[in-house]
């Protein structure tokens, strides 16, 4: 295989095929809420409202023989199992694959936030997600593993910007801490899978202090607001449900 053929093969295997909208192609449990995902556009990589951060979470897998490829293979195959119990990742039954769309139901501030991710890229040593419009942030989050002085290190790295002013406020008042707890938990669970008890670390760098005010209107698609309204309307939907059925039968 020539270098050109090898590059083409990697392009086809590792990247998602072009899509204009999110579409969940796999079966999801009946309790999964698909409210802000189906038909949504991909959030622009360089869009969003808030300051841009590069946040890096790492855990060193000292004492294991697992290679970076082993770690990423396990991570892709069991991604949801490393999440905190209160948050749900509804992906396909198979391992993480480019082009997959997964639903996320995340408990935050008393709201069950319904959103999702698109698997933009996946190879043997890394995989990356992008978000739909209305998600907490624009940008990309990459899960990877690499070798550092003979020790395999697992890493989660986000290059992210809050999508709108509401999320920016939320990130300032508790959101960053919740995000940190989530990914530190995931990395520590991943380490435990390989028999390693280790403390994961976090490093947050501001890439761009400027807020992109031209994107403040993103609030119209805010998934947290829509999820909150959906939750608030649940009792009314429950009352109306039997009558709606009767009408359908008649």
């Amino acid at each position: 295989m020539t270098d050109q053929e090898a590059s083409k093969s990697r392009d086809e295997a590792f990247w998602a095929k072009p899509v204009s909208e999110f579409h969940v192609a796999h079966e999801v449990p009946t309790d999964a809420v698909n409210l802000n995902v189906e038909g949504r556009r991909v959030a622009a990589m360089a869009g969003g409202f808030g300051k841009m951060y590069q946040v890096t979470y790492r855990v060193r897998l000292d004492g294991t023989d697992a290679t970076p490829q082993d770690v990423v293979g396990v991570w892709k195959a069991n991604f949801a199992s490393f999440w905190p119990k209160k948050n749900k990742f509804f992906g396909p039954a198979t391992a993480i694959t480019p082009g997959d769309v997964a639903l996320l139901n995340v408990k935050t501030g008393g709201v069950k936030l319904s959103t999702g991710v698109l698997v933009l890229y996946a190879d043997d040593e890394s995989f990356s997600f992008m978000t739909p419009e209305g998600h907490m942030f624009n940008g990309m989050i990459t899960f990877s593993a690499f070798s550092d002085q003979g020790v395999t290190v697992a890493q989660v790295q986000g290059l992210i910007r809050a999508q709108d002013p509401i999320y920016e406020l939320g990130m300032t008042f508790g959101g960053k801490g919740a995000e940190d707890r989530m990914w530190l938990h995931v990395l520590q669970q991943l380490a435990e899978h390989f028999g390693v008890q280790a403390r994961a670390t976090v490093d947050r760098v501001v890439v761009d202090r400027k807020r992109q005010w031209e994107h403040w209107r993103n609030v119209k698609k805010n998934a947290a607001v829509r999820s909150g309204l959906h939750m608030a309307g649940a009792p009314i939907r429950a009352i109306r449900k039997p009558f709606t059925r009767k009408r359908a039968v008649a």
Binding site: D3, W15, A46
Partner: protein, 114 residues
């Protein structure tokens, strides 16, 4: 200027600096890319020539976003040409094409940079 499998040559065309990409762009290419950007100096526009791009992973896309932030901070335009159909599609998928304008040729990119 090389690191990993990426080489970047910097040249001037009118009021723009052209960065000729040769090889792969991955997360490990950060120093090479940022050094080339620094070498490009204060040109009004930065044009990325992707004709020699062999491969780019998601880490490479992340680097382009970081480069875009730096260029925006300096009020510089960022343009690109020479992308294969595949990478044009990746730019469209990630909507990077809304921030980095894509052109079919160097002449077109240089004209758009004016």
């Amino acid at each position: 200027m090389t690191q990993g499998t990426l080489t970047l040559a910097v040249r001037q065309a009118d009021n723009a600096s052209i960065l000729d990409v040769q090889g792969d762009i991955t997360a490990g290419s950060e120093q090479t890319l940022m050094d080339a950007y620094t070498q490009a100096g204060s040109s009004a526009s930065i044009i990325l020539n992707f004709s020699g791009l062999e491969y780019m992973n998601s880490g490479g896309i992340g680097l382009l976003v970081t480069l875009l932030v730096r260029a925006n901070r300096q009020k510089q335009k960022l343009l690109a040409y020479g992308l294969t159909e595949h990478y044009k599609q990746i730019f469209e998928l990630t909507r990077l094409d809304e921030a980095i304008t894509i052109h079919d040729s160097e002449a077109e990119a240089v004209a758009a940079a004016k």
